[in-house]
Point group: C2
Chain length 179, copies 2
């Protein structure tokens, strides 16, 4: 730290982005400050939304966000191979395997060997899982709505467009993804 600048008295989750970007720019002239600000802000916003949804909707019902994602996928797309579930719910095969132990123990899903390929696993929602997902999703979506209200309809569409563009551009960046 060559140019030492005292941090503001009160450094908070909110104010840290501005502080960090400005400080990094001073310390490291070669830094890409705009990229830094974008990634920092993206992460903070998402972590706030996730924390709120998880702690207000899922945990009180004895669920977790990842568990919900799996049940949600099975609910909407129907029974499918575990490989597909992992792909569309954005987790590795190993992570899903561990997660399924909990979901199976709680009687929410069914694991079955596939007939056409005895290595593969066929996943389905159990009766209990099917009975629970709708109510949980409704609560989840109500909370999503509360968040969405912070933006105008036009702004929501623009946000989605920008995020999609960001994801699409990732292939150019040769980003690393889940196998």
């Amino acid at each position: 730290m060559t140019h030492n600048t005292a941090p503001p008295d009160e450094l908070t989750f909110w104010s840290f982005v501005d502080y960090a970007v400005q400080k990094a720019e001073r310390e490291l002239p070669s830094v890409n400050a705009e990229a830094m600000r974008m990634v920092l802000t993206l992460n903070r916003a998402t972590s706030m939304v996730v924390y709120d949804l998880e702690s207000s909707v899922h945990r009180p019902r004895g669920w977790t966000w990842p568990g919900f994602r799996v049940l949600f996928a099975l609910w909407l797309a129907g029974p499918m191979e575990a490989k597909t579930t992992a792909e569309i719910s954005g987790m590795s095969r190993a992570a899903l395997s561990a997660l399924l132990n909990t979901l199976e123990r709680d009687g929410l899903i069914t694991r079955e060997r596939a007939t056409h390929d005895r290595r593969a696993l066929q996943l389905s929602l159990s009766e209990a899982g099917y009975g629970a997902i709708l109510g949980v999703f409704r609560a989840h979506n109500r909370r999503e709505s509360a968040w969405a209200q912070a933006l105008e309809p036009e702004e929501r569409r623009e946000l989605v467009r920008l995020l999609n563009k960001l994801m699409a551009g990732s292939t150019d960046a040769e980003a690393k993804f889940r196998n």
Copy 2:
């Protein structure tokens, strides 16, 4: 599922958002589809960015993303109380406590009892931590830059504006945050 619609042959991480939103709208007319799409897209984009940064920058160096966040905060804001570190790096006090065990074991930080309040903890970057953070941050920022290039400068600013507005609106939504 009243109106059963077969999922497309190939359901991927990318295509699932569209599929899920459309299907949910058919199944549940009362759903707020735009809110659902926004939250789903926000999470996918962020998880791609985080996975890429973690697997291409931090894990290969024996670090983790949360560990980096703590070291980054200490680097930019200087020695501070653990409470502040938890606040600005977005984790609970308990999570930080556990994380510090690893960082301390690896010789990257120093835990010290505060003099003015013997309950409080004073955190500092160790010599080794100080020596390592700059290089890791440079690599991190290069990768951030690659992601940022997917958007035009004007779009990046707009994305940041929208995310900030989303975070600001959260208080209206009475969202739950970390104590």
